[in-house]
């Protein structure tokens, strides 16, 4: 089995499985965070966030998610390096755009930029919520139970910093680009594809990518224009 994870198709299989898992996570993450724009008092969002931190299923998923990211990132470096080694002498003149999409050729670059964003993103929110704390997070009572005012933490960042808003929009677009290729590629990798499904999967990939990019962009845009 360990040989499988190092074989060409095995390596790719791991990318695909973790990629699909991350795709599902991103949809849940988007749904929850869209609550930000539906209630300016923040009660709705805080309840959502409270549900996520107290729900046992989510507690179980958190380390699995971290592991999913870790494997996806480590294996992405591993396969890119392996594939790079397969051509020791490079071409002088290459016209790659004639035959393949930009995103498909630059998944590691897109992924690495997403990773940079991810680190900043975790420092902005996750770190403050879980570790360092923040005066903005002061507990409040919503619908009879005590919870952190996560809404204050998130909305303050977007209300006060245009550069951060733009960074989050950029992050959303990079992730969208990653998904335009990643979505259908993941199904191709596990063998779920044929001549008919290729067209469908590519269409769904674009829809998924646009929903993710637009969905996450809406949040900072809302705060830019509303406040």
């Amino acid at each position: 089995m360990s040989k499988f994870l190092y074989a060409s198709i095995g390596r790719k299989f791991l990318m695909s499985v973790t990629g699909i898992f991350l795709l599902l996570f991103i949809l849940v993450h988007l749904t929850l965070n869209l609550l930000l724009v539906f209630d300016d008092s923040g009660a709705l969002y805080n309840q959502g966030a409270h549900f996520m931190v107290t729900n046992p299923a989510i507690k179980v998923m958190e380390p699995i998610l971290a592991l999913g990211f870790l494997i996806h990132i480590l294996w992405s470096l591993f396969i890119t390096w392996q594939n790079w080694r397969a051509r020791p002498v490079r071409y002088k003149k290459q016209d790659l755009a004639a035959a393949s999409s930009w995103a498909s050729r630059n998944m590691l670059i897109l992924g690495s930029l997403i990773l940079v964003f991810l680190v900043i993103h975790l420092a902005n929110f996750f770190w403050k919520i879980k570790v360092s704390g923040s005066p903005l997070l002061e507990e409040e009572i919503v619908a009879g139970s005590n919870m952190h005012n996560t809404y204050a933490l998130v909305s303050t960042l977007f209300k006060e910093s245009l550069p951060f808003c733009l960074l989050y929009i950029l992050g959303a677009c990079l992730l969208g680009l990653h998904i335009t290729h990643g979505f259908w590629s993941a199904f191709q990798t596990i063998g779920f594809n044929n001549k008919n499904w290729l067209k469908r999967l590519k269409r769904v990939a674009w829809v998924y990518a646009i929903v993710v990019a637009a969905g996450f962009s809406v949040i900072p845009l809302y705060f830019i224009f509303k406040f």
């Binding site: 594939n83 003149k93 035959a99």
Partner: protein
Amino acid sequence: MADKILKKLNIEVWRQNNAKSKGKFETYTIENISTGTSFLEMLDILNNDLIEKGIDPIAFDHDCREGICGTCSLYINGRPHGPDSAVTTCQLHMRKFKEGETITIEPWRAKAFPVIKDLVVNRSAFEQILQAGGFVSVNTGGVPDGNAILISHEDAEEAMDAASCIGCGACVAACKNSSAMLFVSAKVSHLAKLPQGRVEAKRRARNMVAKMDELGFGGCTNTQACEAECPKSISISNIARLNREYLAARFSE
């Protein structure tokens, strides 16, 4: 339509004495080439010039010159088999090029396809992959009745499409990872789609992929460049089938 004459072209080409020597690019000029000339004929004409000047002619692979044997190669202006689509280099014509243009010609570049001389690379890695499982093991016996096993039209068509792979290696040359997945998937598919080949499908996929990895080809990242550059337009749906067969083989172990 009458052919035009390209008065002058610059040909920038990879020259390398043998597998061990370090190669480099040389640029030659060539004059008065008809647009109706095939690309390989243009190289023949250039080679005549070079021989007259006492220069070693450029070595390149070719055989049938009608797009069926898969011997010709060449990475021309950044694309395998040049700027035309769904053709081999021997079917490429000079009408695809412009007056005064510099045409860059390189050999297939892949660790598994080492250069032998100039533009000729050693593609025996493909043979080794075929030897690892690209066949149907047959026990000899009486000739079976042709209609004894029924095959649907769709299956027959898909098998034939996959079987049209001529083993040229353009897929490897086109791929940013030098992956041989399109070739291997074509060879696995044309047998897996037919009842005689079906029997060994999983074992075949596993052994051929293992050989492919061992020989130093890269892995597939689904860029689809292979399909776009393949002279026979072999579909990447074959790669999905290979993935299926391979994963099924590994998970049933």
